[in-house]
C-alpha cells in the first residue's frame, strides 16, 4: 500500500479525462449525463484519497456532498431529458441550439 494514494489519484485523473471525452464526443444527452457522472465520481475519488492521505474526515464529507449533489443533478437532468424528448423528439444537443438567436 505504499504508493496507493498516488495510484488512486492517477486513476481518478484518468477517470476524469475519460468522462470529459465522453461529454465532448457524445451527442446524446443521456450519454453526456452519464459521462458527467463519471467525472463527478472521479472528483469524489480524489477527495477521498486526499482525505485518507492526511487522515482527515473532510475528504469523505466532501464526497458525501458530491454524492448528494450528483443525485440532485441526475434527477433534475433526467427530468429535463424527458421533457426535451417529449418536446423535440430528439436527444441530440446539436439540434437544441435555441440559445442562438
Amino acid at each position: 500500500m505504499t504508493d496507493s494514494v498516488n495510484m488512486v489519484l492517477m486513476v481518478a485523473t484518468v477517470l476524469f479525462a475519460l468522462g470529459l471525452v465522453g461529454v465532448l464526443t457524445r451527442k446524446n444527452v443521456v450519454f453526456m449525463l452519464i459521462s458527467v457522472e463519471i467525472m463527478l465520481n472521479a472528483a469524489g475519488m480524489a477527495f477521498v484519497a486526499a482525505g485518507s492521505k492526511w487522515q482527515q474526515p473532510d475528504g469523505q464529507v466532501m464526497f458525501l456532498f458530491i454524492l448528494a449533489m450528483a443525485a440532485a443533478e441526475v434527477s433534475v437532468g433526467l427530468a429535463l431529458v424527458l421533457q426535451i424528448y417529449h418536446q423535440h423528439k430528439t436527444m441530440d444537443v446539436e439540434d437544441l441550439k435555441e440559445l442562438k438567436d
Binding site: T13, E37, M45, V48, P57, F65, L67, A68, L82, M91
Partner: protein, 180 residues
C-alpha cells in the same frame, strides 16, 4: 468502455461496473462508509434512475444505430486529443510532487459523522436545501405537460399541422379525380 458504447443499456452496465470498482478502491483506502454509500447510491439509485429513463424513452437499438453514425473519428478525435493533453499535464503535476510514502489509515464513520455535523453543519443544511430543490424541480419539470410548447415552436408546429391537414385533404381529391 462506458463512453464508447452505442447502446445506452450497455453503457449503463459498464457504468455500474465502474462504480463498483471505485467502491472497492474506497474500501482499500480505508473508507468503508463511503464505499458503502458509493455502491448504494451510485450503483443503486442513480443507475436505476438512468435505466428508468432509458426505458421510458424507449431507447433501444434505434438509438444505438444513431449513436454509431454520430461517433465518427472526425467527431471525437480533436476533443480526445485535447483531453489527452490535459491528462498528461495533470499526471505530470501529480508526479512532480514529492513521492513520500504515506500510511493509509482507516477513517471511521464516527469521525466523518462528527465532522459532518460539527464544522460542516451549514453545508449539510445547504445540501439539504439543494436536494429539496432538486426533488421539487425534477417533479415540476418532469410533469407531463402536453402541448405547452415554446411560442416559436408552437407556431411552427401549428403551421406544420395545417400543412399536413391540407395534404390529407388534397390527396383524396386526387384519388377521386383519378378514379373518375
Amino acid at each position: 468502455m462506458v463512453i464508447t458504447r452505442y447502446h445506452p443499456v450497455h453503457a449503463l452496465l459498464y457504468l455500474a461496473v465502474s462504480f463498483l470498482s471505485v467502491g472497492m478502491i474506497f474500501l482499500s483506502l480505508g473508507a468503508p462508509f463511503v464505499a458503502a454509500l458509493e455502491i448504494i447510491v451510485y450503483a443503486g439509485a442513480i443507475i436505476v434512475l438512468f435505466i428508468f429513463v432509458v426505458m421510458m424513452l424507449n431507447l433501444g437499438n434505434e438509438t444505438a444505430q444513431q449513436e454509431k453514425e454520430w461517433l465518427k473519428p472526425k467527431v471525437w478525435l480533436v476533443p480526445s486529443a485535447l483531453v489527452l493533453v490535459l491528462l498528461a499535464e495533470m499526471l505530470l503535476l501529480l508526479f512532480s510532487g514529492n513521492q513520500q510514502v504515506m500510511q493509509v489509515s482507516q477513517v471511521d464513520p464516527r469521525k466523518v459523522a462528527l465532522s459532518l455535523y460539527g464544522e460542516y453543519i451549514i453545508a449539510v443544511e445547504l445540501i439539504g436545501f439543494l436536494l429539496m430543490a432538486g426533488i421539487v424541480g425534477a417533479a415540476h419539470i418532469g410533469k407531463h405537460r402536453k402541448p405547452s410548447l415554446h411560442r416559436f415552436l408552437q407556431n411552427g408546429d401549428a403551421e406544420k399541422e395545417r400543412a399536413s391537414a391540407l395534404q390529407q385533404e388534397t390527396i383524396p381529391n386526387e384519388q377521386t379525380v383519378l378514379h373518375d
